[in-house]
Symmetry: C2
Subunit: 109 residues, 2 copies
DNA sequence: CGACTGTGCAACTCTGGGGTTGCATGAGTT
DNA sequence: AACTCATGCAACCCCAGAGTTGCACAGTCG
């Protein structure tokens, strides 16, 4: 619904594809890379990599920067933290609920 | 490639859908729920919810348990922690690389 | 200028996933 | 046994997305 939730969905959709996860992995080690460079190490065409990088860009996970005639992509880990925060929130809520339930059982015993 | 990576992909794919995220949210508050119960609060059919719950089950995020004639689904937050761990790992790696780079620039100055 | 190389754009195929409807089955209830 | 209600199964539609190929365009360098 919110813009926030859509961003969240974009991040998870981006992370759902193994190729994109590998791209993120490489961009975590390497400061920046071009689509053709990344495509050399992947089993698919350059165009496919370009599309993946566009998805990652729309999720805010990667930032393109023109450098002469090539475009270098760099990692932007901020949305990653946000998404991880959402997950731990859900997990924590569950844990709290479980703790309350256990407390009630103790009291009732 | 590994089973671990496929599990990771399943979790992220599961989280990519807004309906499934809402289902997880409800299961974080409620101890357990049936497909028909959950479908009542969602704008789609029960069959759609069943399919979503199957996805969540395959991702290990939810566990079905037969109770009489109904099937109650409960949250299993463990894979959530794993996936969050992967994300923070990528982010941390990036941060370390950035710190090293900054150190080198300082030294070279 | 002309040659080379990386990007960008467009059209196209094809599979998978979200959603639907219809009906059969299975488990309690009376 | 008859009834009720949740679940399970199957066939089907539709579209987003992953991948491809082909070609045009833009910097860079001889």
């Amino acid at each position: 619904m919110n813009a926030h939730d859509r961003r969240l969905g974009a991040v998870f959709s981006a992370l759902a594809d193994p190729t994109r996860r590998r791209l993120l992995g490489r961009l975590a080690e390497q400061p920046s890379a071009t689509a053709t460079e990344l495509a050399a190490a992947e089993p698919v065409s350059r165009q496919a990599i370009v599309k993946h990088l566009q998805s990652l860009d729309e999720a805010g996970l990667v930032t393109p920067a023109r450098a002469g005639r090539e475009v270098r992509y760099a990692l932007t880990p901020a949305p990653l933290e946000d998404a991880a925060g959402w997950m731990t929130t859900v997990g924590a809520q569950w844990d709290r609920r479980l703790a309350r339930l256990r407390g009630k059982l103790e009291a009732g015993k």
